[in-house]
Symmetry: D2
Subunit: 344 residues, 4 copies
């Protein structure tokens, strides 16, 4: 492992710790690796060591390169300074990506508390957006930020169609950052059909980091299963980035969006409801719709085919046709046809 | 194990399957057991076997008695018939609680999809409410119910101060019951400071039950970690009901509400913000507040004590005093004093 | 689930509890299921309920049919009575296999303590042998049996080439059944190249069954990870029996023997050492051996090819050729040729 | 984290990589930490990177300091050179223990394959012995060493009363280092009543390191549960070293020996059999034995008290008295009395 600390700003004490794992040789088919950028919390007043090295270990074990960003805090933290620190770190990683064997388009941010705010800002407002964001008991709402004495933007309202998939975790009884922060983010992500995973544990203190007993001792009232977020977040990143395979990274199983309803043109990955509600799309798919009428039995005799389309309306058309075995050999052709229809 | 099926309504095919585990003897200090009532899904059109026996096995292994309710479906399902079936089942269990060694106040419902709707109704509207509810990819919103052709009440808007703690799980990409159902419920529970746990997995089909490969085969695109909800839900119930100890059930570690802000009188378990915002409470706690002024250092020099009380305002006063070691020997006395102050 | 108790012997109080899960319908491609026969312990003096229903729940959740055998104990236990009870139970299951949708060749025994002795006897001496055996803190040595006052045969010395794969678990500090019982069995299985899995936890009492807190309370000194044997044993059975797939049971990944060195004729699944040590085999494989000489580089320059064959001698020839990509398109032909060579 | 590489021998390329985690400050009550010394494998021909950094990450996450020893290999590996490298590394750690906040008596070795041989040698022959040893698919038998072309001592025959507790794991079908290596070590440890934990998975290749997909890709035939050894080994070390508590390290729950039968004088932690077989001990404990006669009921009417003492003979006397509630208030006094009796 290469290990070094690069100073991004001496006066503001901004640093990037770099942990680069081996490639090739003993590591066989691994010629480059995904990476995570860990962003510790500390109320924008300091950067907590509890949320630095122990977190790095999680992703090192999973085969990822790891970076730790210690950003501007205290008097230096005036927004958007921390976000600029993030941008600088990402630019530096990008510049060294070949040398360090980093897969540029597979870099996730992992932030905690105030660091979760910064990770959330990276996911929604940055010029160089990450490909995934892990947000741990993150400060996301304006009200919470204000109560903590921070003048920083709310994150949920900045979620947009380009926001990356997010993994959120927190304890429901967190008395420093109320759980509503996480709930608001879930609602915002859902509005844009952005993929997410979420684990909310019913109790336990703020700031538990990995939840390992070396961080959160066995003497505290803490649900031990809250340690599971670490393995779950690794699995989430594998679903999204693909896994290490015998011949390079495997295909991801998780898409960034649950459907393509937010795109400019229709496709098979739009929802059945969206497609069926578009007259032009119905015209283009006339044959397929006739096959569907023949093959899809309504739940009840009195249900019309139109009602049935509404009941199944959240599935993508690709899912529906595949599941029912309708026109499966024509899928590429149907997709191409739909991509000529404006999504209006 | 005693195993039998009791017919609640022959004409509507409503049954209660009863699985009663041993007590005493080999089971030593276990003289009675908590129970779960499993409520399978099936769109109020049938009761799915996939969500019956395999689910029962989860809670049998955990030492709980298990009941399975097969309720009115299809033409018999007109609301509130299914809820009445639930009430009848609970009345029957209550009547046999001594004989079956069931701990009356430790009965949870575990419902899936439409059965999750019924479990949610039990938690919010029933005469005999359960002590906990596990809601799996549950139908909860009116819009979703309507699309599925069911004329049933929305659950989130019926959440009240008596709603039991809930454990929710679902897949984010569920195309039958959109994830917004679960999100709305979380928001509603949070409004009443009701305890909850929640696991949302990023993809996977509706109706995965336990997620075991015998239900959701290895050939399907499904995140294997979604099986974890079973163990997590058992842990949640143990947190809430206490665990089997050498001398009966142990003390629970999870309270039904994260604080007592919703109660008629103040207490040490109300939030600091709630207490500090009440002039009468400030008067009653004058000494303690003076100690807090001396001992609690604001985050920044320019922060006032009042701002600090707001920053810490989500903690209960009990947590704050305990964590900082302030007046810890006077806690019972302070609690008694606060309980004389109306919560207004 | 069908649930009933069949009396095998009224006078000796021998019973078989039958738990048959659903097939077809909701369970789609599952038309029949593997099964386990649970054999509780109790020193051949009684049958412990702690090792009956809670264990059944483990395998029910995994999709298996479950049977519980309560065999002859106390004055009725004179050997081989208990083994005859086992034979009778297996005969009965066999007779009902079609009706109950049991896969005849995929029945495992799961025994504990003295029940582990009986399961071990089934695996090594029975007429109807199981396809796998799970042996929990089992009595296997003669010395231990004698100390416990039982006149029963030692199991390790009865292991033979037909003994099924075994999964063993125990605590190292077991003061009722010393760990040497398990160690002796591992050595015996290894002598016959029989597949096994083994988990020995460093402390904890005898008789912990599933290890669930409802059996082994949180108040006892017990390593909670010892609960993992339940999930591990299910995984072991899946490896051996195949898993539930979209089109019936999938192919097993675990073979009953690590190689075929114990068979009457050679094959590609014999070890390289066995094959290379047989002059007739060397003649039959002359071309392949020439290719190996060209392609397999010794670890050190001074190492001869013959030494290298010894160093790799534990691999099967199939593994070696596959890994090194030698004559891989001729494997069926080479296997056929070897099967003409007596294994002497 | 401090990270550096110290050269122990330039000419033989022997190095110690040092990873020191923070103490105090954010890490509160943690003023010093246990440590592990990772010893990669490679047949004494090289040191495998696969068994270096990824393994370090496991123990870093658990809060331990980590050292990686790259020892003499190839032409430099003539025994006991590698063991001398180990001694030098341990001496260096000892010399810096205060500076690095290492708990001197809580250092474990973690070795793989040939590195497992070196770790085993450290545990049985070194001047500075570790407090625990984790041995992964380790070369331990002479026969195996010889087949791999290594002239090194067998480990099991060097096990003695001072050998530390061991955690062993391997795959049963390992075709490079046969499972008999691990089995022989278990038998040797048991002869000295030394504590151990063991996990043998039924298949999978040699050299799987952590088993993470980044090491052992999802394309290989490998039981994913074999990854569990990492968490299990951490739990084993916690049992043995104590865990991080709110006031320093907690008390260990696992003793180095299952009983004190190997000590020079008797004690309550000797086995009942050992004590009862010693006439002098029977005299010293006359009262207690009378109480036992009154309170301990034989399994069967015809069983004598002497037979019963044999049946319970593997328990320590402390366990037996505690479990049956006999003379529990006199335990210190009884222990003192026994410690005057030579263990002959």
């Amino acid at each position: 492992m290469q290990y070094k600390t690069i100073v991004l700003s001496e006066e503001r004490n901004v640093t990037l710790t770099v942990m680069i794992q081996g490639t090739g040789g003993e590591f066989r088919s691994i010629s480059e690796r995904p990476a995570v950028l860990v962003i510790p919390g500390g109320g924008y007043r300091f950067c907590s060591d509890r949320e630095a090295d122990p977190v790095a270990a999680v992703y090192l074990k999973a085969g990822y390169h790891v970076f730790i960003l210690r950003y501007s805090v205290g008097a230096d933290a005036r927004w958007p300074r921390p976000l600029e620190d993030y941008e600088e770190a990402m630019a530096l990683i990008d510049a060294h990506a070949d040398e360090w064997h980093v897969i540029r388009e597979k870099i996730a941010v992992v932030g905690f508390s105030a660091g979760g705010h910064l990770a959330g800002a990276a996911a929604t407002m940055a010029k160089r957006r990450p490909a995934a964001a892990v947000l741990g008991y993150a400060v996301l709402r304006e009200e919470t930020a204000r109560e903590l004495g921070c003048d920083i933007p709310a994150i949920p309202e900045h979620v947009d169609g380009d926001t990356c998939p997010c993994f959120l975790f927190a304890t429901r009884s967190d008395s420093v950052v109320p759980i509503q922060n996480t709930l608001d983010m879930l609602n915002a992500l859902n509005r844009f059909q952005t993929s997410f995973e979420c684990h909310i544990y019913p109790y336990g203190p703020h700031g538990f980091s990995t939840g390992d007993p070396s961080i959160q001792s066995m003497d505290t009232i803490f649900p031990r299963r809250a340690e599971d977020w670490t393995a779950d977040s690794v699995a989430f990143l594998r679903d999204l980035f693909g896994d290490f395979g015998a011949r390079g990274m495997t295909e991801p199983v998780l898409r960034a969006h649950t459907n393509d309803d937010g795109m400019a043109w229709l496709s098979l990955d739009c929802s059945v409801g969206r497609i069926y509600g578009n007259p032009e799309a119905r015209r283009v798919l006339a044959d397929t719709i006739r096959h569907m009428r023949e093959r899809i039995r309504p739940f009840t005799p009195e249900m019309s085919f139109e009602d049935m389309m509404q009941a199944l309306g959240k599935m993508t058309l690709r899912e529906l046709l595949t599941e029912r075995g309708i026109d499966t050999d024509r899928l590429p052709e149907l997709d191409a046809a739909l991509r000529t229809v404006p999504n209006i």
